[in-house]
Amino acid sequence: MKKNSDPKNSPPTNNSTRRDFLKTSTVAASAAFTGTLGLRSGVHAAGSDILRVGMIGCGGRNTGAAAQALTADSGARLVAMCDIFMDRVKEKRQVLKGQKTDQVIVDDDHCFTGFDGYKHVIDSADVVVIANAAKFHPLHAMTAIKAGKHVFVEKPHGIDPVGVKFMQQTAQLAKEKGLSLVSGLHSRYHTGYTETIKRIHDGAIGDVIAIEENFLRSPYRVTKREPDYSELQWQCSTQYHFSWLSGDDVPQSLVHNLDRASWVLHNKVPVKCHGLGGRSSMTNPIYGDVFDHHSLVYEMENGIPIYALCRTTNGCYNEYSSVVMGSKGKADIIRCRISGENPWRWQGKCNPYQIEHDVLFGSIRSGKPVNNGDYMTRSTMVTVMGQISCYTGKEVTWELINKSDFYYPPKPEDCHDGMEPPVKPGPNGSYPVPIPGVTKLI
C-alpha cells in the first residue's frame, strides 16, 4: 500500500500511478525500447512491414499510448491523428515527432478535428489507439473493429450500461473478425501484480476475507477556458469534470482498483453494491458536475466485501492502494508485497504501459489476435454500477445494471459539432449535480 501524504515529493517507482508515469515516460519508453528490440526481429512476417497507426484523442494519455505503440514496433508509423481541438493535434504531433522522428509521418491532411474526426483516422490506419472522453470509447472501438482495424483502447470502456454493452459487442465482433483488442487496464500487464495475484490464488494469504481499494488524489487538471470556446467546447476540453463525457471518478479511477479486485477473485462479479458520494470541496463550477469523493461497498456472491474509496480533492491525504485481507496474511498488490504467514516481495521492474503495446503489436505480427474484451467490459460495468449507486443512493445489483438501458444523453453517435451540451450552468455558474435519494438513473 502506497501511503504518501504528499505524492509530489515521492520518488518515481515501479508502482507509480499513470500520472506520475507520464512525467517519466520518455525515460521508461526508451529503456523498454532497448530491451525489447531483440525479441522483435524476424517476427513480423504477416503482411507489410509497415503498420499504420492512428490516434483518436490527443490528450496526454493517448500521446503516451502512441509513443508506446511506436516503441513496441519499429515498423509502426503514426499516420493520422484527431481531437476535438486542432491545436492539441498539432501540439502532440510535435511532441511525438520529437520522440519518434522517423515513425511520425502525419501530414496536415491527416490531422482531423471535431466529433467525426475519428472516422477519418480509422480510414487511414491499420491500428488505432483510442483515449479520449470515455463516452466515445465504445463507439470508436466498434467503428474501428467494423472497419477491420486492430484497437488499443484506454479505460474506462464505457460510462453507462448501454456503452459497456456496446463494448461487449465490439469485443465479440473483434473475436469473430480475428482482430486484436487491447485494454488500457494496465494492471493485467504488470509483472509484479501478476506474480502477487498468482500467489494469492495459490493460497499465500489463505482465504480472501475482504479487499480494500483506495484511489485518493488531487483533481484532474482544469483546462483554461479560452475566450472563443463555446460551452460545448469548454466541456469537451475539460471532459473529466463532466459526467456525460467521463462517467465520473468511479469508472475513471477506481476501474483500475476494481479490475484488480475482480482479478483476485477469479474474475467474479459482485452481486450488489451501495455507495455514498458528493462534492465537498471542489465545488467551483470549473470542476463541472462530478463528485469529488465516492465511497463504495461491494458484496461478492460468496459474501466477501470490497470497499472502494476515491477522492479528487486538493490538500488531502492521498493513497493509491489495493489491499487484499486474507485469513493468513495480507497482500499489498501495488507494492507487490505479501505479509503474514508467507511473506514475499517482488522487486523486479516492469512497464505495463509498454507491455500492453508490445503484446498488441506482437499479436498483430504473429497473426494471433489478443482480446481483452472479457475483463475490460466486466470491470468497467462494476464501476458503472458503483457510480450509479453513489449518484442515486440506492443499492444496485449486477443483475439490474446489466438489464438497464440507461445512458448519459446524448448517445455518442448523436454528438456533433455545434450541438447544445446536455448540461448547462445555472444562473450562479454552477452545474446541476446528482442528489442521492432523488436522482433516478436506472
Binding site: S281, G303, G437
Partner: protein, 458 residues
C-alpha cells in the same frame, strides 16, 4: 493504549421489556417502565431494610434524560428519589417532570425550588444532591465534560449519557474527572448501553473465544432517514436555537459520525478488543438543506494495531439504501450484531444465510437501558468498583478521530487526535443563553460546513 481493558463486570438480569432502539424505546417507555415495575417488585431481602435513599439530579431533561431518569427510578436495589432537575428550556423540564411523575409519582420530589433553568442550572441541581447523590448527565454532549467535572468535584456518582465529549480537550477533562471519581470512590457509568446488552455480551464472548477465527474486518453502519431539525422561532436566541437542534451543530454533538455511530464503532472495537491507531475518510453534505452544519454522509477507514480495519459508513438521507448494525468478518465466519441488531447472529463462512447460522441469541428479551442502571445502582449500594470512564472516552475518541479525518481529508492518528488542543467551543464553561455560539450563520443564513483539504481539525 490500544488494548481495551475490561474492568466492568456485568451480571445478567433479564428484563421483560420489549427490545427496541433508543428512539423507538422512548416512544413506548411508559409501557416498558410499567412492565419493569411489576416484574422487579421482589426486592432482595438484603436491601429491603435499606432506608438510605439515593437522591438523583437530572441534568438535561430531553427524551434521553427522561428515559434515563425513569430507568434510574426503576432500579430495585434500594430507594431512589428524583430530587432536582435542570435544563435550559422550561417546557422541556416540565414535560419531563410530568412524564416521570405519571410513572414514578412516589419517587419524585422536585418542587419548583429544585427545578433549575439556565446554563448554570446544572450546578444548583447537583448541589442539591451533593454529596452522595447520583447526577444523570444527559444534556448535549458538548457540556458533558463540564458537568462530569462538577458532579465529581461535589462528591456525586455519575451516570453520563454518550457522547462523553466532542473534542480532545473535553476527553481529557472527562478522563481526569473519572480518575478523580475513582480516588473518591464515586461510581461512573456511561450510556454505551450496548456494552450491557446481554445478547451482545454473549455474542462478543463467542467471538473472543474464536467462533469466527481472527477478526479481519469490522464494518459499522448507520444509514437511515435525515436527522430532524426544528426551525428557529421568532424571538429565540441563536444559542437556544442551536441547543434545541444540538444534533445539527458540530460544537454541540461532535458530528453525526460521533453522535449517531458511536455505539456501533464502539461495538466493533469491543469485538476486536482494540482501539484503532489511525483513520482516513471522507464525507459531505450533498442533499441536506436545513440551516445547520451537518454532513449527511460519511465513510471512514480505521486501522487497528494489527493492521486490520474497521470500515464505517454513516448516512442520513431520504430514499437511500440503509442498514443499521455491525458486520464482523473473521477468518472463518461472520457476525451480525451491534446497535440496530436485536438478535446477534453468528455464521460460518461469509454468506449470512439460514443454513450457515451457527449461533443466535435465544434467551429472553433484554432491556439494556434498564440493565445499565441496575448495574450502576447496585454497584453504588454494594460499594463495588464501577468506573466506565476510560473506555467511554476512548470510544468517543474513535468517533472524534473519524470526524477529524472526514472533515479535514487527512489521515489522523490516535495520538494526533488525543493530543489535539482544538476546542470546538472555546469559553463554553461560561456560555449563557444569550452568548454567541461558536458557529454563526452568514448573511444568507448558511452555517459553516467543513471542507476537506481546507478545514483544520487538530
Amino acid at each position: 493504549m490500544n488494548k481495551q481493558s475490561t474492568s466492568e463486570t456485568s451480571s445478567s438480569s433479564p428484563n421483560q421489556a420489549k427490545q427496541s432502539s433508543r428512539r423507538q424505546f422512548l416512544a413506548h417507555s411508559g409501557k416498558v417502565v410499567a412492565g419493569s415495575v411489576l416484574t422487579g417488585i421482589s426486592l432482595p431481602r438484603a436491601y429491603a431494610a435499606e432506608n438510605n435513599t439515593i437522591k438523583i439530579a437530572l441534568v438535561g431533561c430531553g427524551g434521553r434524560g427522561t428515559g434515563a431518569a425513569g430507568q434510574a427510578l426503576s432500579t430495585t436495589s434500594g430507594p431512589v428519589q428524583l430530587f432536582a432537575m435542570a435544563d435550559v428550556f422550561e417546557n422541556r423540564l416540565q414535560s419531563s417532570l410530568n412524564n416521570l411523575t405519571k410513572q414514578h409519582d412516589s419517587k419524585i420530589s422536585v418542587p419548583p425550588e429544585r427545578q433549575f433553568l439556565g446554563m448554570d442550572a446544572y450546578r444548583k441541581a447537583i448541589d442539591s444532591i451533593a454529596p452522595g447523590g447520583v447526577a444523570i448527565l444527559t444534556t448535549p454532549p458538548a457540556f458533558r465534560p463540564l458537568h462530569v467535572e462538577y458532579a465529581v468535584s461535589k462528591g456525586c456518582h455519575v451516570f453520563m449519557e454518550k457522547s462523553f465529549a466532542v473534542d480532545a480537550p473535553g476527553i481529557h477533562r472527562v478522563l481526569k474527572a473519572g480518575k478523580e471519581a475513582a480516588k473518591k470512590n464515586l461510581k461512573v457509568a456511561g450510556g454505551l448501553m450496548s456494552r450491557h446488552y446481554v445478547p451482545l455480551e454473549q455474542a462478543v464472548q463467542k467471538l473472543h473465544d474464536g467462533a469466527i477465527g481472527d477478526l479481519i474486518t469490522c464494518w459499522a453502519y448507520r444509514e437511515h432517514g435525515p436527522v430532524g431539525f426544528n426551525p428557529k422561532t421568532p424571538g429565540m436566541s441563536e444559542m437556544a436555537n442551536q441547543i434545541r437542534n444540538y444534533s445539527c451543530f458540530t460544537w454541540l454533538n461532535g458530528s453525526f459520525l460521533l453522535d449517531w455511530l458511536i455505539h456501533n464503532l464502539d461495538v466493533c472495537c469491543w469485538c476486536k478488543n482494540a482501539w484503532p491507531i489511525s483513520a482516513q475518510g471522507q464525507g459531505g453534505r450533498q442533499v441536506r438543506t436545513q440551516p445547520d452544519q451537518l454532513f449527511d454522509h460519511y465513510a471512514v477507514e480505521y486501522t487497528f494495531p494489527d493492521g486490520t480495519r474497521l470500515f464505517a459508513q454513516g448516512r442520513h438521507m431520504q430514499n437511500c439504501w440503509g442498514f443499521f448494525g455491525d458486520v464482523i468478518h473473521g477468518a472463518t465466519g461472520t457476525a451480525v450484531l451491534g446497535e440496530g441488531i436485536y438478535q446477534p447472529r453468528i455464521y460460518k463462512g461469509h454468506q449470512q444465510t439460514p443454513e450457515n447460522l451457527i449461533w443466535r441469541y435465544k434467551g429472553p428479551n433484554h432491556n439494556h437501558y434498564q440493565h445499565e442502571h441496575d448495574l450502576f445502582f447496585a454497584a453504588i449500594r454494594q460499594d463495588k468498583p464501577y468506573n466506565e470512564t476510560e473506555r467511554c472516552c476512548y470510544a468517543t475518541l474513535v468517533g472524534i478521530m473519524g470526524r477529524m479525518a472526514a472533515e479535514s481529508g487527512q489521515m489522523i492518528t490516535w495520538e494526533q487526535a488525543l493530543s489535539s488542543k482544538l476546542e470546538l467551543a472555546p469559553g463554553l464553561d461560561n456560555f449563557t443563553m444569550e452568548s454567541e455560539p461558536p458557529a454563526m450563520p452568514d448573511a444568507q443564513g448558511h452555517y459553516p460546513v467543513a471542507m476537506p483539504g481546507i478545514t483544520k481539525v487538530l
